[in-house]
Symmetry: C2
Subunit: 303 residues, 2 copies
């Protein structure tokens, strides 16, 4: 089992769905990635929180197997806060509040104990911060997986492209892939994004699954059709965490292993959708995970 470094926001979220509404709960890309990848590897978190962030949440991550030395606490500042509302169909959401707070001047610190890491997950964050993390690693990792979103394309495309050129795998949703490449066809968009640097491009399609592109090869992992989607917040982050966590566990980065990792990623993301916030991903048994992964096999198997 190889070591992973996870950079991403650890934050407060307030979520409203047609069914439920939360107060400020623990959230952030880094949190979901850590919880998901901790089932497979030892994630080392790089993040920043404010003095208002409860110590018991950090302890919760630690209990899940996350190394927290790289989580800076700025006691005079406030934790990043995001609030969003899902519309009727749960596929569209509206951002109600974004308070950057501590994230505004986030200067990621890589503790010495994190050095020598082989798997790196760059959660959705400013591409400048993502790049700083890469540059501050003393040894080149085996695999760097990067998640991003349209927001960074809108406000700092050049910085984003620079970071993209330095990673091995990018995960991005279908509309974002279209925006980034200027191509409507997803396979053509993926080819163009591979030309920007990454050898592997993963297109996330939410309830429609995910596609993995590598050279001229394509692999498809469906999403599990869920009878009840409670809260999709963090599903994409969970996906990235499950994907890279599984690769770190196997300590392999070949295309065959990545296929299985894509299925594991989809399985983990499906758990996140079933409960509010991180509740679906915080405390799963190995049996639950194995059972869900097997259900994916059944879903597409035919003779």
């Amino acid at each position: 089992m190889a070591k992973t470094v996870v950079v991403g926001s650890i934050a407060f979220d307030a979520i409203e769905t047609p069914f439920e509404k939360t107060d400020k709960i623990i959230g952030g890309a880094g949190t979901y990635i850590c919880f998901a990848s901790a089932y497979f590897s030892n994630p080392h978190a790089v993040a920043v929180v404010g003095g208002d962030f409860p110590k018991e949440y950090i302890a919760k991550l630690q209990n899940a197997g996350v190394s927290v030395e790289g989580i800076q606490v700025k006691s005079d500042e406030k934790t990043f806060f995001w609030s969003g509302k899902y519309l009727d169909n749960m596929n569209q959401r509206e951002t109600l509040v974004t308070e950057l707070n501590v994230l505004e001047h986030f200067d990621p610190i890589i503790p010495d104990s994190y050095q020598g890491v082989e798997y790196v997950i760059l959660g959705n964050l400013s591409p400048v911060v993502q790049r700083q993390v890469i540059e501050r690693l003393k040894k080149k990792p085996k695999l760097i997986v990067m998640d991003t979103m349209n927001f960074w394309m809108d406000i700092m495309l050049d910085e984003l492209k620079k970071t993209i050129s330095m990673v091995d795998v990018i995960t991005i949703n279908d509309d974002e892939a279209r925006q980034l490449s200027g191509e409507y066809s997803i396979p053509v968009a993926a080819q163009k994004i591979m030309e920007m640097g990454p050898q592997y491009v993963i297109i996330k399609k939410g309830e429609h699954g995910a596609l993995l592109f590598h050279k001229k090869e394509i692999f498809y992992a469906p999403a599990m059709p869920l009878y009840s989607v409670i809260d999709p917040t963090g599903a994409g982050d969970t996906f990235a965490g499950g994907f890279a966590g599984y690769l770190a566990q196997q300590d392999k980065t070949d295309f065959e292993t990545m296929k299985k990792a894509l299925v594991v990623a989809s399985a983990m993301a499906s758990f996140t959708c079933e409960k509010m916030g991180t509740a679906g991903i915080e405390s799963l048994s190995d049996e639950q995970i194995e059972e869900r992964i097997n259900a994916f096999k059944t879903l597409t198997a035919y003779s």
Copy 2:
């Protein structure tokens, strides 16, 4: 190889995409279903055309292996005409013209030579006409597959539900399944539709593939990621034709065979999307079809 009866429009289409624009070309649900199912079975067409419909188009269907005795020619009337325009993303289309013409008073005739048929495909048409076809078959078929669309839900829901209660398999797209069931979750919607009669519900998701529901089981067939989508017109009809045609060829209606049929259906639909109108589906070799079906296997296979 069992006999199939196909009822559906044989019509003129005029199609506009961001890339190309056609004059009046041969189209209609029945045409696509016949072409697709003829690779696997002997489709017996039930349809009506006007005096303006070129005899060489009928001959083309015949050459493809379609029995045409049930195609009525109303020499004083005009053929059904539909015209549509695809918007930039090819997933949304606008109907420009719908001239029902001969379809307005379509009274389907089942020739004696069609009787004893075991597989029936009810292409997207008025549910009243679909039901007339069922009622005019002297022997109960082994399997009735029905395609429909939101238009019939809007204008004759009660008639539609009556027809749905008489079929074994319904194919319907995701938004239509939601409309018909009043449920947003696709698995829940499928369960509700099964309660209306069909033992099998197929949810077509276009570029995102298709789901087959039966009791508590779910099978998923992806759509082939295409580098170039030229014209999706008729893809759903082709899908229904490939699906039922394959079952007729195997002469089996169990869930295992239906899974493979769903993959065959997706493969056939992918050919339709690659060329304008019926051009993609008119003259395929067995090798092309086999190769495409194998590509679907590769797309989701992992170890």
